[in-house]
């Protein structure tokens, strides 16, 4: 009985502490990294709805986002892509492949000193535009794109 009460109090105390920390500005909501899988965005079948579902439907074009990817990828199963955002206060980067069956490939949040830079390897079914979207701390979205020609598609396995 007593033990249960203690557990309940402890639980309530912890939640209260987090709420207090948020209120005090110690933990800003933008610094608390999202953890819920954005299924709608990842299952979107075209680029426009994928962009819309990550909130970037009206992203501004920016040349401060640099996409490093080969002009011609011989093997669509492994296309090395590196995205760097030179926009100040970038907190998140998403990578999309226009002509893939599901365009959104990945979305990454950066915090506690992580630079807005992500290197990854993508599958590409065919020649396509690769788009990168950067979100800044003020909630604005920016995007850049680069075409990658694929000689052998990567979706056949």
């Amino acid at each position: 009985m007593d033990a249960l009460r203690r557990t309940l109090l402890k639980g309530a105390g912890a939640t209260g502490a987090i709420a207090a920390a948020v209120a005090a500005g110690v933990l800003k909501p933008s610094q608390v990294l999202a953890s819920e899988y954005n299924r709608t965005a990842f299952e979107a079948k075209d680029l426009a709805s994928a962009l819309r579902n990550i909130g970037a439907g009206s992203a501004t074009d920016s040349n401060a986002i640099v996409i490093k990817a080969p002009d011609i990828a011989e093997n669509g199963a492994v296309v090395p892509v590196d995205v760097v955002s030179n926009l100040p206060n970038t907190i998140s980067i998403a990578v999309l492949v226009d002509k893939n069956p599901l365009p959104l490939s990945g979305a990454f949040d950066f915090a506690n000193g992580a630079l807005p830079d992500v290197a990854l390897r993508l599958k590409m079914g065919q020649t396509s535009i690769v788009e990168a979207v950067a979100k800044t701390a003020d909630g604005k979205y920016y995007k850049a794109k680069k075409e990658v020609k694929v000689t052998v598609g990567g979706c056949g396995g």
Binding site: A77, F108, D109, A111, G113, L115, V118, R121, K123, G157
Partner: protein, 104 residues
């Protein structure tokens, strides 16, 4: 349980470069096996990286990440000897956590 990740974490000047190779089939759910049956999707959905006890990277990934995914990130404000903890979870609920130390 999946094979261990290969993690390389190294200071380059004031920035740590973290590269990780995860062992995972990353099935798209669109591929057919030799018998013509669709192979169900099986892919990493979530990755996190903590350095020195602080969450630095939180990512969500889809089937279009290549098989045996490789990711590279850069982190400032960390030092040699800091512990790097990397975790992934896939769409079937399989998961794996591996640790490394930032080297010079």
């Amino acid at each position: 349980m999946a094979d261990p990740m290969k993690v390389r974490a190294q200071m380059k000047g004031d920035t740590a470069e973290i590269r990780v190779l995860m062992s995972h089939p990353m099935e798209t759910g669109q591929r057919k096996d030799n018998a013509g049956n669709t192979v169900p999707a099986h892919y990493i959905q979530s990755i996190t990286i903590d350095v020195g006890g602080k969450r630095v990277i939180q990512g969500q990934t889809a089937t279009s990440i290549s098989r045996n995914p490789v990711f590279g990130f850069r982190v400032k404000g960390v030092k040699v000897g800091d512990k790097v903890v990397i975790n992934w979870v896939d769409n079937k609920g399989d998961k794996r956590t591996d640790e490394a130390m930032i080297g010079a």
